[in-house]
Symmetry: C2
Subunit: 113 residues, 2 copies
Amino acid sequence: MKKVTFSSGQTIFKAGDAADGLYIVGSGRIGVFFPSNSTHNEPDIVLEKTQILGEMGVIDTASRMATARAIEDCTLVFVSRSEFDKKLEDTDPVVRGVLAILSSRLRDVQRRR
Amino acid sequence: MKKVTFSSGQTIFKAGDAADGLYIVGSGRIGVFFPSNSTHNEPDIVLEKTQILGEMGVIDTASRMATARAIEDCTLVFVSRSEFDKKLEDTDPVVRGVLAILSSRLRDVQRRR
């Protein structure tokens, strides 16, 4: 886990980028822009302190599905896929099993779209 | 968590039943029948040892979405929603956060159907 900072307007990741982890918002606000958002004037989602972005980056190896941009100066904590896997090893097997089922079901849903 | 046994042919839960936990297969095989399966001759999914069924029963309070029936004598472990919540309390907050996001996204998908 490492602390990273972004200035207002800076891109955190772009749709299509390789994904290798997730971010937790420490301070500031992040705009998430879906590919269907052509102007990128208004974010589709705004994330704030304690919220997570890019979580599919620890679940599978698909590229980023949306673009994330700092809409204020912000501090994030980056958790790499391997760090997340380490946390999963220490997780109760029932919780881990449920997470695996939900992940696989979401992947199926996304594949069908 | 408690061990429960079902004889071949016995119903574990029916679509529409109130849901208050999940089951982990210990031995035997379970058939899952979706509401779209009108004859219930052939299960849509067969679950075996270590697989989980009824996992949405720990995620939300909606009723069972499918019917589960023992297709062999089987032993299951039942984990109630409150037992699962206790496990979640002991889970790393990043893992818990990802589970919460995936759950809420799956609920959205199901609501849109």
